[in-house]
């Protein structure tokens, strides 16, 4: 937030001020006031004096004309130019384009003295946008100013970079900005961080290699720099919260200091310490702690503290919003504020009303659903805003499906949803509704009743001749009528057919809806013997101009001729049954083989064709390994893309074209189904089954109803309205709204337990899928899920008590540092330095980063023990002979105590990373039952079991254990932590952590050029990047050798100035690399079936190329 303030402020002087160079901000005499003589001042005054828009336009056009003449005159001095710029900015801000001045703004930034330059930069940042072509002209100026010795110039350049900068020119300034992170002035460091934040937003790949430097910024001794770095962290954590769990402690510490008022007093706002910084930190902690009780545990203290201090109230009704989020955690809180909520519900301000409904939505349960939905519908009828309608309609539909007390109410509510929501409703709503009807619940009788009621209500609605229903509602109606009208015995199908027929002739019915209606007619016709209406309909539409209708009419005609076929084709209530579709299109194999036999070209999928076109254009020669399909398809097996049915080889398809074939059949399947069954005709049965298994207990409607009857007659709002006293009325409303809320803590208002779970239980499953799929704004899971969550938390806590223990210890270590020293960051830095020294003394682990490494040292239990041991002759473990021959790292010390020392050696075997942990007993007696336990890590998978027990370790001897590890989730670097416990006088525990890098899991992949070509075409995740080659590796082969040695890539082939390499991530995820050199640059092009792998490798490549 602070950067926003700053940016905005930077706009000001240019706008309002023409202040003299001499007068600094805050100087005497009120600097920066609009001077009476300035031309901007007079311009503003004359504009303010005008009465009509037309006059304003005239005046500004005049102004612009004169400005244009001035700026393009060669005699214009820079000083005058600066003055013109300010006026141009003002004109443009009023909405009058002044593009003629853009180039002059850039020139001014280039040539002017400090103040002129500043105005130039300001004008540029206001005039241009990210993709503006003129922006490229600014790059040189920025580079020059970044190198300037004048701090103000550097600041200006950094500011403009953090606002707009062309994405493709980032490499030009990146090294300069990186340098600025070490600048002695904090404002420069802060601005550099902001610029890097900008880069991270527009091109995250390019700043990947400086993540470690962000960590330094986070620990900067200046709070401003730290605050700026939080923006980057928020963004990164949003994308991948698991990668930054280790920083939780740091964030907690920072928040603790902020809340404790440790920041400079300038950060206070109305005596609240750095409120925006707090918000930012809370956001980060929120993301880190989400679904992770272990990490959350670290935060509780500080959160509690922040909450306590934040009690200073903010008196706005909008505080409701906060309540909305709070009650997600604990609905009982809403009870305390009942009356406030009721007041808000009748608030004249629609915004507040809407927020109230949002809150009610979250506290809805089976007992108050009727009142709440009624309130929502009332609001909906008044509202005209499309966004509000879509949002609210979705919520009503969701609540209705979840909590409907009875069929009648459900159908009626859904009718209201469809008619009010019209065609703007989210397509999921009708789809889910129909799916619900079709799949039914456990009780068949109940299903039929619901369906019958739906049919009856639709027939009643269609009774009204002139009613205009939204298309989606009509579609729903026709599908239901088509499927279930036969359930209603006392209605003649002929009557329904007549109604549908008349609908078909209405002009407001779109052709899509007509297709739905036609499908309904077909279904009904299959169940009647013969119908005049159907015959009439066939006659009418057989020559319709609408080809779809004509086709349907013909289909119907032919089907009517063969009733038996029609019955098998359209079985009753079979919309949920699985359809068997030959996804591989194997029935076409013969046809394809025949085609190939006649010399037709084999099918190429779209991207392959594009590829070839591209490669031809760029004169990149892919031919040698492009199209020779050898008969072994082994490589495509690796990609996991092979068609499950194994297409006949006659059709000459790689795994890849089978994939396309698969896709095609999917769409085909949909088409075919839709014609006969409506959109929901084929329903994913699997999902249904899963849902049922997951939630075996259902509250069937029957059992729910009696409970409902016992309630205060489910007090409808109209009943409430009949009460005379206003207060009483509100009380009453309150009791209906908040009913069933207290049940969790046993404080139920009505003294009743919350019996209502979901009526239509299967729904929740679908909702969840939806949520995850489209990140929708129905935050539905919150309201219904808190219960189980509360239950599971304690269990989880017990489960991982040990782990928490570790974390807590780390946290307490940190916090004790702080108490001792106010300048915490200094402390942690010095700690890090000492860590660094240690590392240098036994620099063995070469690849791991500085920071992560120092991590190990910081959390070491007792540094003194280490010193002691250093003086003694240490036990030096060595690898067993059979491993000694394999590739391995040096032996590094992990941790030690008085009794034990742990050493680690990484062995890179062909199929895994073999971690060899040496446990040496330093004491003079044998140690029994030494347990080595690895914690579960998110990114890594330990094959076999994560624990190992040494029954006994003799005095002064070394035992070792070996664990194979794979990387489960790709990350450039991760930490695998664990502990050793042993019994000496008392139970002792020793924690350690191991830094594993992506490279530990990369192995060369040997293949032929042909295989490479085949595989290349079948992979779709692309990452391209140009990197600079240093002089030591100016030739391609030198560069490739570096990659081969450092990254364990296999060089497949080198042709001219192009080279191809291959590697795999264990166990078997391939990644291919194509390199090309041109004018000192190395163009890297990665492909892999896994999208994260190329990014990770690219980062490593950049690193090794820089190092070498």
């Amino acid at each position: 937030m602070s950067d926003v303030v700053e940016r905005t402020l930077s706009v000001l002087p240019g706008l309002l001020g023409q202040h003299d160079l001499g007068a600094g901000p805050g100087g005497a005499g009120g600097p920066g006031r609009v001077s009476a003589t300035s031309r901007l001042g007079s311009l503003i005054r004359s504009i303010t004096a005008l009465t009509s828009k037309h006059e304003e336009e005239k005046l500004i056009q005049q102004e612009l004309t004169s400005l244009k003449a001035t700026v393009s005159a060669p005699t214009t001095t820079l000083r005058l130019m600066k003055e013109c710029m300010v006026r141009l900015i003002y004109c443009e801000m009023l909405g009058y384009e002044s593009s003629f001045g853009y180039i002059h703004a850039i020139k001014l930034a280039q040539q002017g003295n400090l103040l002129e330059k500043r105005v130039g930069y300001l004008a540029v940042s206001l005039f241009l946008h990210e993709n503006h072509e003129l922006l490229l002209l600014l790059v040189n100026t920025v580079v020059k100013d970044l190198q300037s010795t004048n701090l103000v110039e550097v600041c200006m350049a950094l500011t403009v970079v953090s606002q707009i900068f062309p994405r493709e020119m980032i490499p030009a300034v990146l090294p300069l900005i990186e340098d600025k992170l070490q600048h002695s002035k904090e404002i420069i460091r802060r601005k550099a961080v902001q610029a890097l934040y900008k880069f991270y937003l527009i091109a995250p790949n390019q700043v990947q290699h400086i993540h470690d430097k962000f960590r330094k910024a986070l620990c900067d001794r200046d709070a401003g720099v730290m605050a700026a770095s939080l923006h980057i962290y928020l963004q990164m954590i949003k994308e991948n919260s698991s990668g930054y769990k280790d920083l939780t402690g740091s964030f907690v510490t920072i928040l603790k200091q902020v809340v404790g008022g440790k920041l400079p007093i300038d950060f206070n706002y109305h005596s609240v310490p750095a409120p925006w910084l707090q918000i930012q930190l809370l956001r980060i902690l929120g993301l880190l702690g989400k679904d992770d009780p272990r990490t959350s545990e670290l935060m509780y203290d500080v959160l509690d503290e922040s909450l306590r201090r934040a009690e200073i109230n903010h008196n706005i009704t909008y505080g409701l919003k906060a309540l909305t989020y709070v009650i997600q955690q604990d609905p009982n809180l809403a009870l305390q504020h009942q009356m406030t909520i009721i007041e808000c519900l009748d608030h004249p301000d629609p915004i507040i009303k809407r927020e109230t409904l949002e809150l009610l939505y979250r506290i809805t349960n089976g007992q108050n659903v009727i009142v709440i939905v009624q309130k929502m519908l009332d609001y909906l009828k008044e509202s005209k805003e499309e966004y509000a309608i879509i949002n609210l309609v979705g919520k009503i539909a969701e609540l209705a499906e979840k909590y409907a007390p009875d069929n009648e109410w459900f159908i009626q509510t859904m009718n209201a949803v469809f008619s009010v929501g019209g065609d703007v409703v989210h397509p999921d709503i009708p789809n889910n509704f129909l799916r619900l009807l079709a799949e039914g619940f456990d009780d068949g009788k109940e299903d039929d009743q619901l369906r019958m009621y739906a049919v009856q209500s639709y027939l009643a609605l269609l009774e009204e001749e002139d009613a205009l229903y939204p298309q989606k509602f009509l579609q729903v109606m026709s599908w239901v009528l088509g499927e279930y009208s036969s359930l209603v015995a006392d209605v003649d199908p002929e009557v329904i057919l007549t109604k549908l027929h008349s609908l078909l002739k209405k002009t407001f019915v779109t052709s899509e809806t007509k297709v739905w209606i036609m499908a309904a007619v077909t279904k009904i016709a299959s169940r009647t013997s013969c119908s005049k209406t159907v015959d009439k309909l066939i006659g009418e539409f057989s020559n319709s101009l609408d080809t779809y209708m004509r086709q349907y009419a013909f289909e119907l005609k032919h089907l009517c001729e063969d009733k038996a076929l029609m019955k098998t084709l359209l079985p009753f209530d079979a919309s949920c049954n699985d359809m068997v579709v030959d996804a591989s299109l194997s029935f076409l194999d013969g046809f394809v083989a025949e085609g190939l036999g006649r010399g037709a070209a084999p099918y190429k999928p779209h991207h392959q064709r594009q590829e070839e076109k591209l490669s031809q254009e760029k004169a990149l020669n892919f031919e040698p390994y492009g199209l020779s399909f050898a008969s072994s398809v082994s490589s495509s097996g690796v990609t996991g893309r092979q068609s499950p049915t194994g297409l006949s080889f006659g059709s000459d398809t790689s795994g890849n074209s089978a994939e396309t074939g698969h896709k095609e059949t999917n769409t085909l399947k949909l088409e075919g189904v839709r014609k006969l069954w409506g959109k929901e005709g084929y329903l994913p049965k699997k999902e249904n089954k899963v849902g049922k298994e997951n939630e075996p207990q259902t509250v069937s409607c029957g059992s729910l109803l009696p409970g409902q009857a016992g309630d205060p007659p489910a007090s409808r709002s109209d009943q409430v309205a009949s009460l005379s006293e206003e207060d009483k009325e509100k009380q009453q409303l309150a009791s209906t709204l908040f009913i069933g809320l207290g049940s969790n803590a046993g404080v139920s208002l009505m003294g009743k337990a919350d019996t209502a779970t979901q009526k239509f239980k299967r729904k929740s499953k679908i909702n969840e899928t939806q949520n995850s799929e489209e990140d929708s704004d129905f935050q539905n899971s919150g309201a219904s899920d808190f219960g189980p969550l509360l239950d599971t938390v304690p269990i989880n806590m017990e489960d991982c008590e040990g782990n928490i223990h570790t974390r807590l210890r780390k946290a307490s270590l940190c916090s004790s540092d702080i108490v001792e020293d106010n300048l915490v960051f200094e402390t942690s830095q010095s700690l890090k330095k000492s860590g660094l020294d240690d590392r240098l003394s036994d620099s063995m682990l070469s690849q791991s980063s500085l920071f992560a490494d120092s991590n190990i040292e910081i959390f070491q239990p007792s540094p003194s023990a280490q010193c002691e041991s250093a003086s003694k002759p240490p036990l030096v473990p060595s690898l067993p002979e059979e491993l000694e021959e394999l590739n391995h790292s040096g032996v590094v010390e992990l941790c030690q105590s008085d009794a034990l020392a742990l050493h680690l050696c990484k062995v890179w075997t062909d199929d895994s990373l073999l971690l060899t942990v040496f446990v040496s007993n330093k004491t003079a007696s044998a140690l029994n039952a030494v347990n080595l336990v690895f914690e579960e890590a998110e990114h890594f998978q330990i094959l076999e079991s994560p624990t190992y027990q040494f029954p006994v370790i003799e005095a002064q001897s070394v035992e070792c254990c070996q664990k194979c590890v794979w990387m489960d989730k790709i990350c450039t670097q991760g930490i695998l932590s664990g502990s050793v416990n042993y019994q000496s006088e008392m139970e002792t525990r020793l924690d350690f952590s191991i830094t594993l890098s992506l490279l530990d899991f990369i192995r060369p992949m040997e293949m032929t050029t042909e295989d490479f070509g085949k595989l290349w075409l079948s992979l779709s995740n692309d990452v391209k990047q140009n990197i600079k080659m240093s002089c030591s590796q100016d030739s391609l082969s030198a560069a490739l050798n570096t990659l081969q040695q450092k990254l364990k890539l296999h060089i497949v082939d080198i042709i001219g100035n192009e080279g191809i390499l291959a590697c795999q991530l264990l166990p078997s995820v391939p990644c291919l690399l194509h390199c090309r050199t041109h004018s000192g640059m190395l163009a890297l092009w990665f492909r892999s079936p896994c999208s994260a792998l190329p990014d990770g490798l690219l980062y490593q490549c950049q690193k090794v190329m820089e190092e070498s």
């Binding site: 905005t8 402020l9 909405g95 384009e97 706002y269 909008y318």
Partner: protein, 98 residues
């Protein structure tokens, strides 16, 4: 995220505008006009937040001047509400009397 920052007088004239996301110039005028209309139509006893299309407006009135900030879903309204005041206080300090 803050999308834009506006200062508008009661007559609906823009006195200051800053966009943090690029908006075409001709669309700016239209957007500003609508935003101001929305703010002016609200009375003193209504809250300072408006849901407008797919984003939110947070505004504060200082005499005849409105400060309006457009934000998206992820931003905290209260934080921005206070930020506006902070901003005005800074102006006040810098220009000694606003």
């Amino acid at each position: 995220m803050i999308k834009f920052f506006l200062m508008v007088n009661k007559q609906g004239q823009t006195r200051l505008s800053k966009y943090y996301e690029h908006v075409e110039i001709n669309k700016r005028t239209m957007l500003e006009a609508e935003v101001i209309k929305n703010c002016l139509s609200r009375s003193k006893d209504q809250c300072s937040f408006i849901e407008y299309k797919d984003f939110k407006l947070v505004y504060r009135q200082y005499a005849a001047l409105f400060v309006v900030v457009g934000i998206n879903e992820t931003e905290n309204e209260m934080a921005v509400y206070e930020l506006i005041h902070n901003f005005v206080e800074v102006l006040d300090k810098y220009f000694s009397r606003v």
